[in-house]
Amino acid sequence: MARVVFTLGDDISTDVIYPGRHMATVLPTETPQFAFADHAEFNGRLKAKQVAPGSVVVAGKNFGCGSSREQAVSALQGHELLIVANDFARIFLQNAINLGLNVVTAPGIEASEGDDLQITADAVVNATTGKRYAVQQLPSARQGIIDAGGLIAYTRKRLLQMNNKAQV
């Protein structure tokens, strides 16, 4: 069971997730302090460690639209948040898979702060309302990256394979 700690509407841009004025901060070890920086209350709870790892942010359609900034992903990942959205914008979804942020696409998902969600590979069940939402699988093209544990590990594996081939 995972607790919903924050809910958002449609078209939440990366400017909202990670405001541009903090973009000079790039390292995943430093970005989490600015997650949802313009939502002072939620940002405060995150920074005060009042949000348990594995907690859920529920969003509408097109979550992560706009800029390609990867800070928007690493900032959420640093707090070990799970994002359940109606759907995601392309670059954000790719970045999430590449870095290993937990994301779930559940069209129609509705939840309020404080609700408990039961999340499996096939469905999200809102235990508070009793409603069930089918999960849309991540793009199968990306499975190799997910299996490798992210794009850095995947690329490293490919690099070593290329290098071994070159030496044979």
Binding site: G150, T155, N163
Partner: protein, 431 residues
């Protein structure tokens, strides 16, 4: 089965005779662009090589471009140190397509790439910037990626596990009315398809209006295709593309166009007639909240911005300077102008546009992203309103969540600078 432009480009780049939407490929990359966020790319690139016993080597430094534009000159020690780190990497790895903070060859990445002749029809271009879609204006397949994905490209020379996108065909006909142009067209299209309407898809532009449009205008519509969620926007290369490459980008080697097959498969076809299009405004806080200008005329504005990778080119400055010539920016309005590159700045000086802006009371800043994304300068005060030729109006975009950004064409921005309220350039101001 026929192929779209992007399907043809991806087939060539992945060494296949034919591909179709949904296929998973590893296209070779012809050009890999980053800006200041190259600092993060460098970090992730070195991470890939960590503990492998291998020396970090960029697959092909001649295909890597790095352009500083987001925070130029640096606004903070942190940015300055990031830029320094990138300069050191560039020197070590012999990256020659590097554009530092300079008045001659510097500028915004999405202007520098085309004007330097780095982008060719049929190329696969990736950039760590969502507006990399701009380069579809030259018939390339160009799309935004994250920094870690770029580190993978620098290592392998290909983008891994790319799913061939479906394509939406947009046919545009009619002649633009006076003071209506490409920006109004793309805002109208985004309003029509919504901010999510083209998610994971390519928008391929066709029609007589596109044929008659300059490369500068095509850069506007491809630039903002991402605001409808599109992976890429693309204009199949034609005579204008060849003219631009030869006359404006200094390209001398052979160039060939990639065109769609007559029986290419499109997921959707949209027809637009621009002959009666009105100036369009994207209202806060989403780019698809688009309204014809008459519904927002009279709205008080505090800051006018003309510039960015969307509308900072010579023709944009020409229109704005023409409207401002001999007049004054209204009291209590700040007007900021950002030419998209040093080259454009020099041309605007030569033609007298800069003088016209300054005499009118506008401030002409150095080329760069400026206030567009709220990282550098030109932030808004609480409750203030900006009217801007940039491409995004998300909450907090210009550095303050308690402000509003409206998006428009250079003509609307200039006409409104004279009055201090959103003004229809066809009807003029009350100045």
């Amino acid at each position: 089965m026929g192929m779209t432009v992007v399907e043809k480009i991806l087939a060539r780049a992945s060494g296949q005779a034919a591909v179709k939407a949904g296929d998973v490929l590893e296209p070779r990359v012809d050009l890999a662009m980053s800006h200041e966020n190259a600092a993060l790319v460098v970090n992730q690139f070195l991470e890939v090589f960590k503990d492998t016993g291998l020396e970090p080597v960029v697959w092909d430094p001649s295909r890597v471009a790095i352009i500083f534009d987001h925070r130029v000159p640096a606004e903070s020690p942190k940015t300055a140190s990031n830029q320094k780190k990138v300069r050191e990497f560039v020197a070590k790895h012999m990256i020659r397509k590097f554009h530092d903070i300079r008045g001659d060859v510097g500028g915004i990445c999405h202007q520098i790439l085309p004007e330097s002749g780095y982008v060719r029809p049929g190329a696969v271009v990736v950039g760590t910037d969502s507006h990399t879609t701009s380069h579809g204006a030259l018939g390339a397949f160009a799309f935004g990626i994250g920094a870690t994905e770029m580190a993978s490209v620098w290592t392998l020379g290909a983008t891994v596990n790319v799913e061939v996108p479906q394509t939406i065909r947009v046919n545009v006909r009619g002649k633009f009315p006076n003071l209506v142009g490409p920006k109004d067209l793309i805002l109208h299209l985004i309003g029509k398809v919504t901010a999510q309407g083209a998610n994971f898809k390519v928008i391929e532009f066709h029609g007589e209006t596109i044929g008659a449009m300059s490369t500068s205008g095509r850069l506007v519509i491809c630039n903002m295709s991402v605001e409808a969620g599109a992976t890429a926007g693309i204009v199949p290369a034609d005579a204008e593309t060849m003219r631009y490459l030869r006359e404006e980008a200094g390209v001398t080697d052979p160039v060939s166009a990639v065109l769609p097959d007559p029986d290419a498969v499109y997921v959707q076809v949209i027809d637009i007639d621009v002959s009666r299009l009105e100036p369009q405004i994207a209202c806060p806080h989403t780019v698809d909240n688009v309204k014809p200008i008459d519904t927002v005329v009279g709205k008080r504005v505090h800051q006018i911005v003309i510039g960015s990778c969307t509308n900072g080119r010579l023709d944009d400055l020409e229109i704005a300077a023409g409207i401002l010539a001999g007049k004054k920016v209204a009291q209590n309005v700040r007007m900021l102008v950002f030419p998209a590159s040093g080259k454009i700045y020099a041309q605007a000086l030569e033609r007298g546009y800069v003088e016209q802006f300054m005499k009118a009371g506008a401030v002409v800043m150095n080329p760069g992203c400026g206030p567009c994304l709220g990282v550098h300068e030109g932030a808004l005060g609480d409750g203030e309103v900006a009217l801007s030729t940039t491409n995004r109006n998300f909450k907090g975009r210009m550095g303050n969540p308690n402000s509003e950004v409206y998006l428009c064409s250079p003509a609307v921005a200039a006409a409104s600078a004279l009055t201090g309220v959103i003004t229809d350039p066809r009807k003029g101001g009350m100045n």
